[in-house]
Point group: C2
Chain length 146, copies 2
């Protein structure tokens, strides 16, 4: 903390937060308009889909999604109730669960993606060239080194 962050750092930081919030809001609005569940559900289902039929340990899912465990616990309850995911007892660890997506879950994912994708298209791809996207990606990559 020898030098305070520069004006530039502060304003860039603020831009980053603001941009991500505006984008999120916009995607949420689009999903709601299409009468689909929130982005949070999409994120979970996508990770489960990626994990394939073996599923994922609950804590692994939490780490990927940056979600605290108690929060995740209840979201999975919901997904399970809706028949979008299944929760098994873990064979190799008596404490744990394994979560897997169902066919219903995959269907929902497939319905949500076009809506989500259209927003990425509008918000993102229209405003940055491929080269600029690559620049942005590289800069964000550096930031995630923390």
């Amino acid at each position: 903390m020898t030098t305070k962050p520069s004006k530039l750092a502060i304003s860039t930081w603020a831009q980053l937060l603001r941009t991500s919030q505006r984008f999120t809001d916009q995607v949420e609005a689009a999903l709601k308009h299409a009468q689909l569940p929130m982005l949070g559900w999409y994120d979970i289902l996508l990770e489960l889909h990626r994990a394939g039929s073996d599923g994922l340990r609950q804590f692994e899912l939490g780490e990927k999604l940056l979600l605290p465990k108690h929060n995740l616990s209840r979201r999975i309850d919901k997904l399970q109730q809706e028949g979008l995911a299944e929760r098994y007892l873990c064979e190799s660890d008596g404490r744990g669960n394994v979560i897997a997506i169902t066919d219903e879950g995959k269907k929902l994912l497939a319905k949500m993606w076009p809506v989500y994708a259209a927003q990425i298209e509008v918000l993102f791809e229209e405003n940055l060239s491929g080269a600029e996207q690559q620049q942005l990606s590289a800069l964000l990559e550096k930031l995630s080194k923390v």
Copy 2:
């Protein structure tokens, strides 16, 4: 929506959301550790501070912070209860309120800033040069054209 967003666009988008969430989490953790209120309070107080002694209309505040009105309404209740902000009736518009920061609010802002700033320092400035920050800022600027 002629072409779906490219892989690059999608992954850069994901990076953006993820980075901003990780950073926010980290700042929240630091504030909590210092027994200070959440980032949301800081944001409000900062906007009020910027607005000066004239204060701001409640809806203006909401626009700046991207907060829905009902949410803001109750946050201001809290700030008011804690003596951090004042709510006046607006003279020129009988429906409206004017919100202004109090001296207590300014003091809190001053206590929160070093904690916040230290996180920006660590998370942000250590990983990007000035030139890179400027690049990032410019790219985010383009994105906000939406």
